[in-house]
Symmetry: C2
Subunit: 404 residues, 2 copies
């Protein structure tokens, strides 16, 4: 190789083997733009990563995101990142299962000591910790790993705000396996799970939900309780439909010492709620109503009825039917309060509430993430008015309250 040879200009070889370039006029124009933009940045010799969103978060400084705007260079980074996103779920789940975040918190944070704590190989721990550092849930300094504020607060089991247990519910086969068949689900328009999917009667996943998702729900309890009570301190009766862990009803009993709460859910689930009521010291004012929300007699009348994380599992007529039953069990002036992921009317924002419809497609026969106008219309159809939304600060959830 004669060093006197002058270097040829770099160029992006966009031709794909076996594919004639001008297959479609429209895409030729796109391709030309791509090539033009690619050349424009070709001088950045030290650029080693696609310009994909992940990068922005990880530089440790404020970086403007230009993804998918006219001005930004176009790269396949977002496509590649989405196709590999499953690795991020697997890595976090593995780290939780291996008790890695406790090891990091206890220190000293070198690969050997973390590996010993986790009974794991050093190769595996080093690559996993590096990956978690790339994802922003660990920091690496001088070859040692330590917590980010996020991992210290939410992933280290020694933190009272640790919510690592939610990984157990979210990776439950009933919640995960449908995604291995998502094309089929989109074709059919319903979960591949049998019957009503995740809300099939007595589905054991709701015991796991009650046991593991409480840390995710705990921060919502205070705002929900305050919105439902609206300052009331007198004697009142509250029904908590699909109580699960029971935390929402329990919070009402804590905020109002004269409130009596009835939790409704499958019997095995209510055992978790009753345990939590005991721990909160409100078991004397906590009653259990085991069974299906659609079949059991609600009793009552109640001052308030909670429907938390429930309506989204069902289609419109089912929701309206249940809301009618709710209205019939409320005192005049009583309140129905749902806790929901409520997307904007465009259904594509904000990200978490909008994306939640996918979970309902994958795991139910006809559920959805309902907009406020849809929920309001359901309430009205059931004879419940005065509907108002109470978004919970710093969370993707909204409490929607109506009254009889």
């Amino acid at each position: 190789m004669a060093s006197a040879c002058r270097a040829r200009d770099s160029r992006l070889g966009l031709e794909i083997a076996g594919k004639a370039l001008p297959e479609a006029a429209a895409s030729t124009e796109i391709l030309e733009r791509f090539a033009r933009e690619a050349r424009a940045v070709a001088g950045e010799a030290d650029r080693k990563g696609f310009a994909f969103p992940q990068e922005i978060e990880l530089e440790g400084r404020q970086i403007v995101n230009n993804a998918n705007t006219q001005e930004a260079p176009l790269t396949p980074g977002l496509v590649f990142e989405m196709l590999q996103a499953h690795q991020r779920t697997a890595a976090l789940k593995a780290a939780i299962d291996l008790d890695l975040f406790r090891a990091v918190g206890e220190g000293p944070g070198d690969v050997a000591s973390i590996a010993r704590h986790c009974s794991a190989s050093e190769r595996g721990i080093r690559i996993l910790c590096d990956f978690l550092t790339v994802q922003g849930v660990l920091v690496k300094e001088s070859g040692r790993y330590r917590h980010t504020p996020t991992s210290a607060t939410f992933l280290d089991p020694r933190s009272p705000a640790c919510l690592a247990s939610i990984a157990q519910f979210l990776s439950n086969p009933a919640m995960r396996e449908p995604y291995d068949h998502l094309s089929e689900i989109v074709r059919a328009g319903r979960t591949i799970l049998p019957g009503e999917g995740s809300v099939e009667p007595e589905n054991p996943i709701w015991v796991q939900f009650a046991e593991t998702m409480a840390p995710m729900m705990a921060p919502l309890c205070g705002p929900l309780g305050a919105a439902v009570l609206d300052g009331c301190k007198g004697p009142m009766r509250v029904l908590d439909i699909a109580a699960g862990h029971g935390l929402f009803g329990i919070e009402i009993a804590r905020q109002n010492p004269q409130a009596r709460v009835t939790g409704l859910d499958w019997a095995p689930v209510l055992r978790v709620a009753l345990d939590n009521a005991r721990r909160a010291g409100v078991q004397d004012r906590y009653e259990m109503l085991p069974g299906s929300a659609f079949e059991v007699d609600f009793g009552g009348p109640y001052d308030a009825i909670l429907l938390t994380n429930f309506l989204h599992h069902f289609d419109w007529p089912t929701c309206v039917g249940l809301l009618k039953k709710v209205r019939a069990a409320l005192k005049p002036g009583g309140r129905a309060a749902t806790l929901e992921f409520v997307p904007d009317e465009d259904r594509v924002s904000p990200p978490i509430p909008a994306a939640f419809a996918m979970t309902m497609l994958a795991s139910t026969a006809a559920g959805d993430a309902y907009t406020l106008s849809e929920l309001t219309a359901m309430y009205r159809e059931a004879g419940i008015g005065g509907v108002a939304a109470h978004p919970i600060p710093m969370s993707p959830h909204t409490v929607v309250i109506g009254s009889t």
Copy 2:
């Protein structure tokens, strides 16, 4: 509910049922900071999403990212997003399998017409398209979906730059299933796949790699070819080890009409390379050397030897052994060129090259993403010097060239 009752202050109920708060002094301090910050933003009544990275990209405008800095409010958004990240992979794969991006490109983009094209349900298509819009690979306007620049260029099969086929390789069971057993892999320090994992002799996934990953590699060919040739136009012989789709060697033959290229790979893989050589019109200067890079006689001597996407599958001694064999097959002054994901020396940046080590942990017995100092040391140990890195613009790949 007396409306005269004054509303109580909202508060974030951070106590988790059944868990005493001050379990550890360190985490109490963290928790107090969390609660303080939570209160500071409690006034933002319309905040419905966690402050997680995804959100930043989706507003369609430039937003500063504060995740994991001291100033930002701390939320579990990143944890929740990581645990659900697998949905993004499943959704993109399903959309590709359903030919959804062609339907969007052809228009008119309403749910009914996309559902007809995809032979799918309207519920499924609406939820999938909304989800893809949240992820930034579709745009929704007035209830209709259209392409983003990213989806038009890289996901619509009508685009010559479409690389949707890479989803087939990346979701191959051999590439995907290890992530269902990642804890076990981290413990053992090696893939759960039998033998050498993805590089087990004659593994059929490399035929699929050759057939489907070419569009991902095509943009790298021009810069790689230019770096290897460095302007040379005379007669030369080039060996392309682990040729796969053959595009890199073929590009050398295209850039230098006097270059003769020998592709080395398993015989079924080389059939794909030869097809591509024919399409590129260089088949007269393309020879095939079927077999294992570790066993077959390289012949030669060569002016240049390519080792693209190969060294990362193996441990250090195996790489050095192979590089010695490469050196022995090079002319004096000949060049060895590897194409690799090369992380910085800290191994946690840039994101894509650093994260690639995870793929090697999951799918191989001892592979890694090697740093430039490691690759340089391997080269030197094999008697190859003058090592220089050539990062490929707008890609996460680096060409590392050394000479004898």
